[in-house]
Amino acid sequence: MSSQKPNSDRRHTIAVLVDNEPGVLARVIGLFAGRGYNIESLTVSEVDAVKGYSRITIVTSGTDMVIEQIKALLDRLVPVHMVEDLTLQGPCLERELGLVKVVNAGENRIEALRIADMFRARAIDSTLNSFVFELTGSPKKLNAFIELMSGLGETEITRGGVVAMARGSGIGLRNAKS
């Protein structure tokens, strides 16, 4: 309980190493749904095919007490090997992939390309009146890009969710419980 204001909501990024088995995601999601906790972002993918581990990254927000409760509840799930609160551990890297389709013409089209260039977004599909941009970066960067694009035409957006990792040389989720 380190925060100054224990009752204010704070955004936390939590990484969880789990066995890649049917139902494991349902357990994690059910734990949040059953108690009314909010999930802002959730990504999951296998990270170790030999051991059969998947890594889940969850972004959630809550008071210190709620976050502690979430971590304890995650940790006691049987297929969970390790839970890490990246937010509490210090600086962490957060990256997200977004695809943004913008439909426009004329001057707006040129502006869209110029902004995309600034954000290092790549046009991966084009018609005479549309682009699909691919962009990676922090969630904030994606938000900014999407906001600018929405001013330049009709947009469709899909985002991959946050993947995160602690900075520095420490290897976090390798020392699994078993």
Partner: protein
């Protein structure tokens, strides 16, 4: 579940899936299974038919199978085992599983499932059992490969019993029961990710001991975790209380963990706890919580709960710590191990309590005790429910007695007036509050302790909820006693309607109760009615000396309410002691919304 890379292991033998299950049950030391057959589990029942050393108790409803297994587990410290079929068999078990989850009872429940190729096709008696039970089990498995079967079986037992115990479901598709399967013995199973911490952090335990030695108004608040940890943990609690002279209170689930006859015992705490226990909780300066979870029935209004106390919380479950109440010294570990370490440290450092302040603390506690909050007046005609339980307690003291209860007023009176000096003697549904729990739990207890006196203290409404089990009780010649506190009301509902809903008794009166004696007789048991105080002792004597299934129908004062009581939404120091107090104690608007 996939776990570590595959290390070549040699199975000890090859069997059918059903054979593997039976073998695993035997290797896990299972003696009794509570179950009900059906299409999807027939291969397993066939295997049981060929086995001599697994006793199967055929219940009459799957909910009762789980409660019976809970009674068995709670009264022995072993794991309760349940076997039910797919679909309705599994869904009927859900209430029992939820009950076991809430009260941390180790259960392994095997459920049948349609064959793997039919899963998801809305096949006959198909239910998404792992989906349905995900929220009401500690863990569950759907076995889709027969090679995994013995690993899953052994892991299920490990998970059910270790850490905070709970129910585990193993869902078994019918084709898996027929398939060839390798059998691995318990010592050869693959490693499991679930490794709860049990030792407790040494620095924190020492810190806690130092704090307790300095305490001026200490209290020990013990819970069901002590019972789950085992009789050794309960002995250690007693040792520590005697070493320090500290007062002890217990939760509903903890009753028996500390002898009720010990002078340091303040009684149960919480909504219907004693005045002295609740006031001591409210006014203490150091609280030592061992294996209790700060349930809302215990804390009352949470922001007014024990405002001046430094709180030490020992629990095996990290998620129970800092859930409702912030712990100043959280200790994650098993009660027995932590208490051992703490007592060792206490002795090694020659710590001693502050005798003077402890003396004045006891004077204060004794002044609350002198209120005699459990006092009641018994005239010579109508039986008071409190009196009935008090007499039952007094008359069974020289017997090896186990008590189960249903849920409601009778449950609280039993907790208040029946003293338990040993753990594992008290089977009650605390967390979920399941009416209909007591009879099957008594049944499971009697199966485990065939020669003991097992009594279900019941209410007239609750007993109707699982009374089909009279038939099971007769079949296995279980001499279970049912002691019905009969007031013709759902008494606790009536009481709350009186307190919070202007005495508008909506649907809480039972118009047409059966003749319980004839009911017992129709199943092959016997019984007696006590109409007046004069009948009571005779009926109790007849009951406890009967060697048969026996129903004692105790007609009690109908509108008696259960006191003392912390009204919902109130604090510990706002207890009401009797009906007279209720006029002044208006339940707050927030309190009304609480259950």
């Amino acid at each position: 579940m996939t776990g570590e890379p595959h290390i070549a292991r040699k199975p000890s033998e090859h069997l059918s899936g059903a054979g593997v299950i039976v073998k695993a049950l035997q290797d896990q030391g299972v003696e009794v299974i509570f179950g009900y057959p059906g299409g999807a589990v027939l291969p397993l029942y066939d295997e049981l038919f060929k086995t001599n050393n697994l006793r199967h108790i055929l219940v009459r409803h799957e909910q009762a199978a789980v409660h019976a297994a809970e009674g068995y587990a709670r009264s022995t410290g072993k794991i309760g085992v349940v076997l039910v079929t797919s679909g309705p068999g599994a869904t009927n078990a859900v209430t029992g599983l939820t009950d076991a989850l809430m009260d941390s009872i180790p259960i392994v429940c095997l459920t049948g499932q349609v064959p793997t190729h039919l899963i998801g096709t809305d096949a006959f008696q198909e239910a998404d059992t792992t989906g349905i039970t995900r929220a009401c089990t500690k863990h569950n498995y759907l076995v889709k490969k027969s090679e995994e079967l013995s690993d899953v079986m052994h892991e299920a037992f490990y998970v059910a019993a270790n850490g905070r115990p709970g129910p585990v479901v193993v869902d078994l598709p019918k084709d898996i029961l027929f398939a060839d399967a390798p059998y691995f013995a318990p010592q050869d199973v693959r490693p499991c990710a679930y490794q709860p911490k049990t030792n407790g952090d040494l620095t924190k335990i020492e810190q806690a001991a130092e704090l307790l030695a300095k305490a001026q108004r200490p209290i020990i608040y013990g819970g069901g975790g002590l019972i789950n940890s085992g009789p050794a943990a309960c002995k250690l609690l007693q040792e520590f209380a005697e070493l320090t002279g500290f007062p002890v209170t217990l939760t509903l689930m903890g009753l028996g963990a500390f002898p009720a006859s010990n002078p340091n015992f303040l009684g149960m705490l919480g909504m219907h706890g004693t005045y002295e226990a609740n006031l001591a909780m409210h006014n203490c300066d150091v609280m030592l919580n061992i294996g209790a979870r700060f349930d809302d029935r215990v804390t009352g209004r949470i922001d007014a709960f024990s405002p001046r106390a430094t709180k030490i919380h020992i629990d095996i479950d990290q998620s129970s710590i800092n859930k409702n109440v912030l712990a100043d010294i959280p200790i994650l570990g098993d009660a027995e191990r932590v208490l051992t370490t703490m007592i060792d440290y206490w002795k090694k450092k020659k710590l001693s309590p502050r005798v003077d302040s402890l003396k004045s603390w006891w004077i204060e506690i004794n002044s609350w005790r002198s209120k005699e909050c459990l006092k009641f007046e018994q005239d010579d005609k109508i039986i008071k429910p409190q009196f009935a339980i008090k007499r039952l307690f007094e008359k069974t003291q020289n017997r090896d007695v186990f008590i189960s209860t249903e849920v409601g007023q009778h449950q609280m009176w039993a907790a208040q007036y029946f003293g338990f000096d040993k753990p594992n003697r008290w089977m009650t549904s605390g967390g979920l509050g399941t009416m209909g729990y007591g009879l099957p739990a008594a049944m499971g207890t009697q199966v485990a302790h065939p020669d003991a006196l097992v009594i279900d203290i019941a209410g007239d409404a609750s007993i109707l909820m699982n009374m089909q089990e009279f038939s099971t009780i007769i079949q296995y010649r279980l001499p279970v006693k049912v002691f019905i506190i009969n007031n013709q009301w759902m008494g606790m509902v009536r009481q709350w309607q009186e307190l919070n809903h202007g005495s508008r008794y909506s649907q809480s009166y039972t118009e047409s109760l059966p003749d319980f004696i004839q009911l017992a007789q129709s199943f092959g048991g016997t019984g007696m009615v006590a109409e007046t105080v004069d009948d009571l002792d005779k009926v109790i004597d007849e009951m406890i000396n009967s060697e048969k299934f026996f129903i004692a129908d105790i007609r009690v004062q109908k509108e008696e309410s259960c006191f003392p009581m912390i009204p919902s939404g109130a604090a510990h120091n706002e207890m009401i002691l009797s009906a007279k107090d209720t006029e002044n104690a208006k339940t707050s608007a927030e309190g009304m919304a609480l259950v």
